[in-house]
Structures are given as structure tokens and as C-alpha cells.
């Protein structure tokens, strides 16, 4: 590794706890409790409870409080998008990542070095959160959850149209859509509303608190009702949204001959859908697909690309072919929620 690599490492390095910034003495998305943490977004593999202090966007702090209780950290500091905050000699700025409500890239500036820890991100329009903003940087720290050329996600609106077509074709059955409780569920609801679906949408109990939080933050979800007090063979012709684990569970048996659907980037691959007994796969992801990953790297042209987690082999190979220096950090502990 050259001298540049080592100077970048003075600003940010990989440790068993996660990415650590020595001059600022804080961790970004640590996988274990630490004294000082900067959190990119509220998914549980990135935002864990029990840190001494947490710096995050106000929305992410609200999500963590809703999930872990008000005392989820010793102290908190809200960092609205775009506001530079000093930590030691390091300037930390949270910039929209387009992943879920409150999701941010942590931009670290120190001396003349800029490192962007992008957390999880996507480049597509999402009615529930602001669009990803590219920030020029020396090191871009990227996820690679869908870092294989097989992952090229279709337009989410087309996938929702598929769902609505199926609802029309099977009016006697309940459509049960598996979606992560934080982010995906609310995005699906908004996409359905955008498609003109204004009927009541039925919710698994596990979604109630996040839905309420999104609405408090100005994301309108339209009429919803709990699905859980339904009688046997209930809700024919309706759409029920539930965490992915619930759609193949005993919980699902109460509905009228339910059609299990699942909104996830993994649904790109047919075998993945079949393994989960999904009958209506909806390829809708809050992560960057292969084209978004490679186009983002091409756009930013960082001196180094660091890959946190996912399918790093293919992205490393792509970087090699495109003359980009890339390293896999092999951070253990980041995975999709609910996978």
C-alpha cells in the first residue's frame, strides 16, 4: 500500500468494532457499543443501542429512539443534512444517501482529505427521503449488497403495477406483501398511492410505530388499518403489508388464500424467491443496484474505493478492469435487516 493509503488510514481505519476515525475519536456505524458513534441510518445492523454518544440526523435519532427507547445512548447530537459539525479536528457533515428516512452519508474532512462513508444508499427517486447527493472525495466507502452484474433493478413503479394487476386478477385472495419495517414498507405504501391506489392498506402490528414516525416527518401514507384483528379468511381483495418473516408464518393463515409477495432486491433471482415460497416477487430495493454502484464510482472517481459489505468480489474485479484502486474491508455484522 502506498503512502496515500496510509494517510487515508490516519483519518479512517477498520477495527473489530467497525470503521474508526482516530483524529475525531469516533466510530461510524460500529457493530459493538462504543463511546462515540456517528450513525448513517436507522437499520439495526448500522444503528445499534448502547453507545456513549451518537451523532446522526434528527430523523435517524428519532428512529433509534422509537426502536430502542429514549435512552438508547448516553448523549445524542442531531446533525441536520449539510451542517458541518466539528469532532476533534475532523469536520463531519451528513449528506442525503437516499436509502431510507434520515439516511445519510457521513462526509469526513480532515486536513486536505475527504472520506465519504456512504452507509447504505440508492440513486433512485424515493418519495420517503431526499435523493442521494454525490460528494467529491478521496476515499469513497461503499456498500456492495447487490454488487453483482445480475442486479439491475427495474423501475419500482412497474413492480407496483404488477402487484395491482395481480390484485385485479385474484379479487378473492389477499395479497400479502413482505417489506422491511423501516423504509421499504413506507416506500411501498407511497408507491401504491402514486399509482392511484387509494383504498385502505392493512398493516402488520410491527409496522405501526415506523408508519407513525414517517407520518410525523411529513410522509403521508393515506388510509391504513391494522390487519391483525381480522377474522379467518379475512380481507379478500385487499393488500396487507407485513415484515418479510410474517408472510410465510402462521400469522399469514388468517387471510383469504393469501398470495405471498416480497419487495426486495433479492427477488431479482428466481431461486431466492422460490426458497422463500414467494409467489409474487417484487424487485424493489433501497440499495444501489450494479449500475448505480458502478455509475456512482465512475462519477466520483475516488482515489480509493473501500467496500464495506456485500458481494465485494465482483466490484473488486470491476474496479481492477476500470483502473480504480479498491479494497474490501470485510466488515462482519452488516446485513440486510430481516434477511
Amino acid at each position: 500500500m502506498g503512502p496515500l493509503m496510509s494517510s487515508f488510514r490516519q483519518l479512517l481505519r477498520n477495527t473489530p468494532e467497525g470503521l474508526y476515525c482516530p483524529p475525531g475519536d469516533f466510530y461510524v456505524d460500529p457493530v459493538r457499543p462504543v463511546d462515540r458513534a456517528v450513525i448513517t441510518h436507522g437499520h439495526s445492523d448500522h444503528a445499534r443501542g448502547g453507545h456513549g454518544s451518537v451523532l446522526a440526523t434528527p430523523e435517524t435519532l428519532a428512529i433509534m429512539a422509537a426502536r430502542y427507547g429514549q435512552d438508547f445512548a448516553g448523549a445524542t447530537e442531531a446533525a441536520p443534512y449539510g451542517k458541518a459539525i466539528a469532532r476533534g479536528g475532523v469536520n463531519v457533515t451528513m449528506v442525503p444517501a437516499g436509502h431510507v428516512l434520515g439516511s445519510a452519508q457521513a462526509v469526513l474532512r480532515w486536513k486536505d482529505i475527504t472520506i465519504v462513508v456512504s452507509g447504505d444508499y440508492k440513486r433512485r427517486r424515493d418519495p420517503t427521503c431526499p435523493l442521494f447527493e454525490p460528494v467529491p472525495c478521496h476515499v469513497f466507502v461503499s456498500e456492495a449488497t447487490f454488487g453483482l452484474p445480475v442486479f439491475r433493478f427495474p423501475d419500482a413503479a412497474d413492480e407496483v403495477a404488477k402487484l395491482l394487476k395481480s390484485v385485479a386478477l385474484f379479487p378473492e385472495r389477499t395479497h400479502l406483501v413482505g417489506a422491511y419495517a423501516l423504509g421499504k414498507a413506507q416506500r411501498i405504501i407511497c408507491l401504491l398511492r402514486d399509482a392511484g391506489y387509494d383504498k385502505t392498506l392493512y398493516m402488520h402490528g410491527a409496522l405501526a410505530s415506523m408508519n407513525a414516525l414517517y407520518e410525523q416527518h411529513g410522509v403521508a401514507l393515506g388510509p391504513t388499518a391494522p390487519a391483525t384483528d381480522a377474522a379467518r379468511n379475512a380481507l379478500p381483495g385487499e393488500i396487507v403489508i407485513a415484515p418479510p418473516s410474517a408472510i410465510a408464518d402462521k400469522w399469514a393463515r388468517r387471510f383469504a388464500d393469501p398470495i405471498p409477495a416480497f419487495a426486495s432486491g433479492w427477488m431479482t433471482v428466481r431461486a431466492r424467491a422460490r426458497q422463500r415460497h414467494v409467489e409474487l416477487p417484487l424487485v424493489i430495493s433501497d440499495h444501489a443496484d450494479w449500475d448505480e454502484l458502478t455509475e456512482t464510482i465512475t462519477e466520483l472517481k475516488p482515489e480509493e474505493l473501500w467496500i464495506t459489505h456485500g458481494s465485494e468480489d465482483a466490484l473488486l474485479r470491476w474496479s481492477e478492469l476500470n483502473g480504480i484502486t479498491a479494497h474490501a474491508l470485510e466488515i462482519i455484522g452488516y446485513e440486510d435487516e430481516d434477511e
Binding site: L148, P149, V150, F151, R152, P154, K162, S166, L169, F170, I259, T268, V269, R270, A271, A273, R274, Q275, V278, E279, L280, P281, S311, D313, A314, R317, W318, L321
Partner: protein, 534 residues
């Protein structure tokens, strides 16, 4: 192509028969002619292409994408057509998306040399779902769980007519089935329903439920005959037209010119296609040498002479016997067969019996001769009319119990399709003693199913935890006298095979039980297996 691709995609994910019917009905009701006709033909297997070999498709993809990236992708997806469909780089605005009839027309007229160019152009113009459907079509493997029977059912529902009405005219129709759709949409009369030598929808048997059916039904009401281990055929010769149909109405005459030549009669018989050796039925493995071929040469026909063992008569000359009870049809059949001179057509004899108990003994210990290699017994009510489909009560099949053997898991390979990512293909072996008295395992077969999803997860974990070696996609699993996993394997028959190291090959092996409890050293030995040779 979009609507067709979408249909295939949904059918592939839909396990329920009724939901499949809804999807088919919706598609056939909305898609235009001739697209829906070609779609129907490809779903029912009436239209197949082998225009592109997997190796060619892979090469085309690797010309567009770095081979290492391709291979990482293929490893993850586990299906070649799907991988190529997903990784093919988009060329927006390259071409107009081809419609299904265009693709079919082009493939039917294109020379071998032109196909690659066509394929690349189409792949450029389609989205990933369209590419997947196209590649499945080109490689002749749609595999979306639609049988010809199901497709006909959808047509019947679409036109609100009995499915038997469709089956009767089906054979005389050719893709893209314009006349058929016109009839179903009440725009014209039923097409060609009286064509000579047309396919008559077949009557099928229910599996007997030993616990309830023997109490419910009286032995005296039924005739019994052996269930021959060949394939069900309908042989017709009417007004000079000869046909040999499979039970789904597929014309298989091209592979059996010897049988076709023997149809020296006027009428339609229902029977079992078998290989005959001096009037005796040969095991199914011999028949397999003749199946799924486009033709047969003299040498093959001499080695494996085919014939029909008749068990029903549907047409006697111009007389339709289907509305007569079985007892009368049987008498007519015996007379009909006795008149024939060819040794290629014989009569399936009735097995006399007086009680279910007696029949059970016969089934467990069949008499000398052909019954020894029968698959079990058929029971037919003496008063049963010949009804299309699988009515409950008139006909039963009572299969022989499968053979069971305790074998040891030796190798495992990852599955494809639904099981990609799981080690789900298992090679198993039994003990063999060499000249020095040392015992070692010798592989005797491979099984891919018979276990639940839960068991698959446990088996997969066992393979991963006990891998001792890897050869490409195959893992060698620890299996010795002190350690190993015993699988109880069920199979239908055993034949000599020079292609297998152990010298035997199983028919239809599947995992019957997983013996987590049984020590590997107590699994079966090769000599005890060899006693079961057909």
C-alpha cells in the same frame, strides 16, 4: 413478447393449479392472434426449438461482459438462461422489442448461421424478463409447470366447453390454433371434430387408498390386470390414417415405425407400449432406449422391438365402444386382438381373483413370467364406461411397494432452480467387499428429492459440515465405517448397467427416510442389492 414473458414468469412462481388456470385464461383471453397460439404451442410442447445451445449462449454473454464477472454471476444465480438474461447489458433504443410471432417466424425460417445474430439483436431489445423468456424458448425448456392437460383446461374454461371437447379436436389443430380460438370465442363452429384417427381423451386411474377403498368397494365388481411397466398409448387406424399417441395426445409414431406397421386393423386400441422379447415384456429401461427420439433405425428396432399390450378397445371399425361397460368392451377387445396376425400386439390378460386378500397376496408375490416385472395391479369396474379424465371409483391403480435400501451419502452437488444454493443432489453408495475382505463404499445412485424443505436444510448443513474434498461443484462427504449419513432410498427397479461402477442402475430413486440414527457401517451391501435385479 412482454405479455408472454410476464405469463411465463408468473406461472413459474405460482404453485396452485387454479391460480395457473386464472393466469392462462387471462392471457389467452387478452393476447392477440397469432401470439396466443404460439404461446399455447410452446407451453404445451407442440412448438420446441433447440436453436441455441447453452455453450453458445454463454459465449455470447461473455463477449458482452468480463468472463470473471460472468462466472461470479452464474455461481450466484445457478441457472444459465437466467444469468444471461440478468447480466446482458442494456442497449436502450437499440431495437424495437420483438413480438412472439416474429421470433417464431424467424426461428422457423432462419438458417443455423443466422440464429446467433438474431439472438443478439433480440437480447439487446428486450428487458431482462423478456430475455429470460426468449432464452427458455430457444433452449426448449420452459418448465413453468403447465401440462398440456392444464392448458386444455384453461381453453375449456375460456370457451365454457367440456375439456373432453377440446381434447377430441386438439390433435387435428396446428399452431397458432386460429380455428380453435375462433370456436372458443363463438366466432365459428367447432373445427374438425370428426377427423379420422383423432386422439380420444384417455381414461385414467386413481391411486387406491388401501385404508378405505377396499372396505368401500366389492371385489366382485372389479376386474384385475397387471400394470405393465411401459408407457400408455392409444393406437389408431381409421380410414387409412395411422397414429400412435401418448396418453396426453402427443403423436409419437415417428419413433415407432415398427409399431405403426403392425396396426393392421380398423379401430382404436388403448394399451401399453412395451419392448417385447419373444412375446415377453422387457424392463422399462429397454423401452427408454426408444423413447424421445425423432426416429428409429433398423438396428435399434431389431435390438429393442416394440409392441403394444392391449387392454381396451375404443373404436371397433366405425363403432364407438366408449359408452359400453368395460365387461362388454373387454369381450370385443379379445375378439379384436385374436383376429390380428402381428405378434407385436397382444392382449393384457385378466388376473382372476375372488377377494381383496387374495389379490393382495398376488400383488406381493406375482406369478412367474411377465407379472414379476409389472408395476403393480390395475382394477377396473366391470360396469365402467370409458370416461375421459380421472374419475374416482371406476378405475384404480395399486402399485407395488417400492424397494428400499439403506445407503450412505458419499457426494453432494448443489441443486438448480428452487434449490440453487443448497446441496440437494445426493450420490449414495453401499458396501462392497474386495478380495482381501476390505469393505469400501461403491456409488449406486443419485437422488434429488423425497425430502422436505426442513430436511433439505439439515442435509445441506450436514454436507457443509462434513466435506472432506471438493471437485468443482461436487463435494465429497465423510463416509466410512465409523461415520456417515445413512439414507433410506426407495426405488422402483434395478438394472445391470455398464455405465455405473457398481454395475447396477436404479429406476426412480428417491430419499425415503433420512436415518440420522443409523451407523454407516450397518448400511446395505452390494450383493443384497443385486438380488433385486430385474
Amino acid at each position: 413478447m412482454k405479455a408472454f414473458a410476464r405469463l411465463l414468469d408468473q406461472l413459474a412462481f405460482t404453485p396452485s393449479r387454479n391460480a395457473k388456470l386464472t393466469l392462462l385464461r387471462d392471457y389467452l383471453g387478452h393476447a392477440p392472434d397469432p401470439e396466443r397460439g404460439w404461446a399455447l404451442a410452446s407451453l404445451t410442447g407442440a412448438l420446441t426449438f433447440d436453436a441455441a445451445k447453452p455453450a453458445f449462449i454463454r459465449k455470447a454473454a461473455e463477449a458482452r461482459l468480463d468472463p470473471l464477472l460472468f462466472s461470479l454471476s452464474y455461481d450466484f444465480v445457478g441457472d444459465l438462461a437466467e444469468t444471461v438474461a440478468l447480466v446482458w447489458p442494456a442497449r436502450p433504443g437499440a431495437n424495437r422489442e420483438p413480438e412472439l410471432p416474429e421470433v417464431v417466424d424467424a426461428l422457423r425460417t432462419a438458417s443455423r448461421r443466422e440464429v446467433p445474430q438474431l439472438l443478439e439483436r433480440w437480447l439487446d431489445a428486450l428487458d431482462s424478463n423478456g430475455r429470460w423468456a426468449l432464452l427458455k424458448l430457444l433452449t426448449g425448456g420452459l418448465r413453468v409447470g403447465v401440462s398440456a392437460r392444464l392448458a386444455k383446461q384453461a381453453l375449456a374454461q375460456m370457451g365454457d366447453v367440456p375439456v373432453a371437447d377440446i381434447e377430441e379436436v386438439w390433435h387435428a389443430q396446428t399452431p397458432p390454433y386460429g380455428d380453435l380460438f375462433a370456436w372458443l370465442e363463438k366466432r365459428s363452429a367447432r373445427p374438425g371434430s370428426d377427423a379420422p384417427a383423432r386422439f380420444r381423451p384417455v381414461m385414467l386411474a386413481q391411486a387406491i387408498d388401501e385404508a378405505t377403498d377396499f372396505v368401500r368397494y366389492a371385489a366382485a365388481d372389479y376386474a384385475a390386470e397387471w400394470k405393465w411397466d411401459g408407457i400408455r398409448v392409444q393406437a389408431a387406424n381409421e380410414q387409412g390414417q395411422r397414429r400412435l399417441y401418448s396418453r396426453t395426445g402427443e403423436d409419437i409414431a415417428a419413433a415407432f415405425p415398427d409399431v405403426l406397421e403392425a396396426l393392421e386393423f380398423e379401430g382404436v386400441i388403448d394399451g401399453e407400449l412395451l419392448i417385447f422379447n419373444d412375446g415377453h415384456a422387457a424392463p422399462f429401461g429397454d423401452l427408454q432406449q426408444r423413447l424421445n427420439r425423432k426416429g428409429a433405425d433398423a438396428k435399434l428396432m431389431a435390438k429393442f422391438p416394440a409392441g403394444i399390450r392391449a387392454y381396451d378397445l375404443l373404436m371397433d371399425g366405425e363403432e364407438d365402444l366408449r359408452a359400453l361397460p368395460f365387461a362388454q368392451r373387454r369381450q370385443r377387445l379379445e375378439v379384436f386382438i385374436a383376429r390380428l396376425t402381428s405378434s407385436r400386439i397382444d392382449l393384457s390378460p385378466l388376473q382372476p381373483f375372488t377377494s381383496w386378500e387374495e389379490l393382495a397376496r398376488l400383488r406381493a408375490d406375482p406369478p412367474e413370467g411377465d407379472p414379476r416385472i409389472a408395476e403393480g395391479l390395475m382394477l377396473k369396474r366391470w360396469d365402467s364406461l370409458y370416461e375421459a379424465g380421472r374419475p374416482k371409483g371406476p378405475w384404480f391403480k395399486w402399485k407395488r411397494d417400492p424397494h428400499l435400501v439403506d445407503a450412505v451419502l458419499m457426494y453432494a452437488q448443489r441443486g438448480h432452480g428452487k434449490r440453487s444454493g443448497f446441496y440437494s443432489d445426493y450420490t449414495f453408495g453401499v458396501w462392497r467387499e474386495d478380495a482381501n475382505g476390505d469393505r469400501s463404499l461403491t456409488p449406486v445412485g443419485k437422488a434429488y428429492f423425497g425430502f422436505t424443505d426442513e430436511e433439505l436444510k439439515r442435509l445441506d448443513k450436514f454436507v457443509r459440515d462434513n466435506t472432506v474434498d471438493r471437485f468443482g461443484p461436487v463435494r465429497s462427504v465423510r463416509a466410512d465405517k465409523d461415520f456417515g449419513l445413512v439414507l433410506e432410498i426407495a426405488f422402483e427397479g434395478l438394472q445391470r448397467s455398464s455405465r455405473h461402477k457398481s454395475g447396477v442402475a436404479m429406476r426412480f430413486p428417491r430419499v425415503h427416510r433420512i436415518r440420522w440414527d443409523k451407523p454407516a457401517r450397518e448400511a446395505d451391501e452390494l450383493p443384497s442389492l443385486e438380488k433385486l435385479l430385474d
